[in-house]
Symmetry: C2
Subunit: 142 residues, 2 copies
């Protein structure tokens, strides 16, 4: 269980003023290990925030390096907590993302590192993202 103190401190450490919505949304991320989309957040938040506030909060979190976005093929960006070392918009992300075709959840496989690849001459890689879809651990177990 996460204490309120931690959330507040986490926000402050990232140069974000502590407000109700930021606290609540950050708690949602901490309470769960999967990724959340904008609409997930609107659904899960008990008290309702304005849609605009959610957009702006997510944007602020990404900019400060608190969360990172995960591309999907269904037109709904998902966000997940960054594990430390990401600050000031510069996101360094070397793990694989997994999307379960059964439960629909998106999760970070922190322990699976994205393999390096060799691009054709002339191309410069700046970021590499690896998305695996299939059946997740808990869905496969059933």
């Amino acid at each position: 269980m996460i204490m309120e103190k931690n959330v507040d401190e986490l926000l402050r450490r990232n140069q974000l003023s502590v407000t109700g919505s930021r606290r609540k949304i950050l708690e949602l991320f901490l309470q769960q290990d999967g990724a959340l989309s904008h609409s997930d957040i609107e659904k899960k938040a008990s008290e309702k925030f304005d849609r605009v506030t959610v957009y702006r909060t997510l944007q602020a979190f990404v900019e400060k390096g608190l969360i990172h976005s995960i591309p999907t093929s269904d037109n709904s960006i998902r966000y997940a907590l960054c594990k430390d070392e990401c600050t000031g918009g510069q996101h360094r992300d070397d793990h694989v993302h997994f999307i379960c075709n059964v439960c629909g959840n998106t999760m970070c496989l922190e322990e699976v590192v994205v393999p390096g690849i060799k691009l054709p001459r002339g191309y410069v890689a700046q970021q590499v993202e690896m998305l695996v879809s299939g059946i997740c651990k808990s869905c496969a177990a059933r």
Copy 2:
């Protein structure tokens, strides 16, 4: 240069009846080697099709395995031609996709194969997608 005959035949070979919009949209894909988003198509098509028609055409093309979708982190799915062997919705795609941060184009790097990865015990992979962003050949040359 692609002849009209080819386009028609390509459509027929994929069990799609030949219509004006399908012909035109397929030509757009053939004329270019990058990927196209829905809005790209609306912009590029000289004659204007109804937005709904474009959506339905893209959907039909994906179902028949003529094109495949490429996930992005900017909430706009892009589509690219499948190189043969994709039929009836079952898309087998083993190449890397590249998104240029300068020109914004998305392209298939057919020659770069997505490396295999080892997932944690319990996970089943069904599809793997690799997205590299950076600077493309033509932008880097300048």
